[in-house]
């Protein structure tokens, strides 16, 4: 499923996941299936937050889509969201956040659904099929 003809859907997306393999899979698939030109991989929630904070003056450099893992050491996906809430609207209005997990816990699903910044809950692995659906359905920012 090569999408060389179509330009990439997004300019930049970010993947936040503490597992190397999962970052590798996401990165490869995103580029291969034309979801984005550039993929920024962050191995921790705090690193991702720092990255976003640094870009508050350069809005064009912000990732348009963020894939957020739930289970991470020190600060997990929901911890990231709590800190993210404190960011300026300038940042928040530019990023669509999707949670990425293997969690079967309905509480996790509910927390994600209740969070105004989470657009969707995806199941790992981030494969071709899911990316195709994403491109087709053009996820929008959730109305806060």
């Amino acid at each position: 499923m090569q999408n060389n003809k179509r330009p990439s859907f997004y300019k930049k997306v970010m993947i936040v996941d503490d597992t190397y393999v999962d970052r590798y899979i996401a990165e490869r698939n995103i580029v291969k299936y034309g979801l984005a030109e550039e993929v920024i991989a962050q191995e921790s929630a705090s690193a991702a937050l720092a990255y976003l904070k640094d870009l508050w003056e350069k809005k064009e450099e912000l990732p348009q889509l963020i894939f957020l893992d739930i289970r991470m050491p020190e600060m997990d996906g929901f911890g990231f969201l709590k800190e993210y809430e404190k960011f300026t609207d300038g940042i928040k209005r530019n990023c669509i956040i999707m949670m990425l997990s293997t969690s079967l816990n309905p509480e996790d699903h509910k927390r994600a659904a209740d969070n105004p910044y989470v657009s969707k809950f995806l199941n790992k692995p981030l494969n071709a099929e899911q990316l195709r659906l994403l491109i087709e359905n053009e996820p929008h920012l959730k109305s806060a």
């Binding site: 393999v21 999962d22 490869r28 293997t102 969690s103 079967l104 494969n127």
Partner: protein, 407 residues
Amino acid sequence: MNYFLSGFFICGLLLAFFYDTWSVAIGVGGLSLVAYYSVKSILPDSNLYQYVASLILGIFMAQYIYQMHGLFEMHFIAFVGSAMLITYQNWKLQIPITLLVILHHALFAYLQFVRVDGIYFTQLDYMSLSTFGIHALLAASIFFISGLWAYQFKKFSEKNIEQTYRIASLNEAEVQKEALLHANHELDKFVYSVSHDLRAPLSSMKGVIEISEEETKDELLLKNFSLLKGSIKKLDDFIQDILQYSRNSRMEVKKQSIDFAEMLEDITNNLKHMSSNNERPVEILYSVSNQKLFVSDKSRLNVLLSNLVSNAIRYQNPVVQNPYVDIQVNMTDIETGIVVKDNGIGISAENQKKIFEMFYRVSENIVGSGLGLYLVKEIVDKLDGKIEVESEPGKGTAFMVCIPNGN
């Protein structure tokens, strides 16, 4: 009571001092106390001593009347005694003292009548029948009220004890319930955490395999990758089955209104995506008739139906042209009957007895955890329902489930 009785005895001595009736004071008073304490020590477990107390309280009254040479007013000592007996919470204790008063009255009145000497009793002169009647009535009412209070006292303290006990056990039940809920919640968290940690590497493996699959056209490699994915799916399904089993056995039945058509549509959509490479797509048909308000546990019913339908898909008959599974839901006011029928490979008679056992699988070749039907049976039991199976090898299988309406 000990203080009162000693008090009575001492009063007797005091009166003796004033009226010079020592022999009576010591003799009768002493004998009474002896009677009381001896019964109490000989039979400590019985309440006979209380009846003795009642009696001797009456005797003290008679003693005082005698000591004071017929002072009629001392009769009220009997009422004092009667009131004291209330504390024993036994109305029957009024009987000995009442009888004694009556006896004493009658006997001594008669003795006086026949002019026996030395009887100190009320002068008959100012005793007329109507006065006697009034006195009798007053005495009777006092004994009656004392008895009544004794009885009510008893009832009241019984009720008090019962209420205290009930509150205590309610509190205990509350505490236990809290502890149980907490333990359940902790176990829930543990199970989810474990299942997540088991599944995460599996999903990573699946992702890498899919990437690798796209990098090659080599048939052997592709076959190998497919086998790898098959094993991963097996393990993942097993983990999810264990999770479902754990949830079913621990969680309380949650009641809500069930829309079978919606549930079956969801299941159909999910299972369409889940079929592994070896399975042909199986046509899933369903129909819901006699729609009624049906209340039951939605997530458990979902698991039950998913398991039955996915089994039908797995155990399809390879030589049959159009494999299908048909789910018919028929509702009445008291229950819902569900029939899941397929034209799969069927189950032999001897296997039919064992299929609901934990980890029982008919064939090693077919991908399954062995927990599916066990879980179905557990869910049916949890919902107080019934399940039966009819099957013929080579022809097909039908599972008949009956779930009572929870409303």
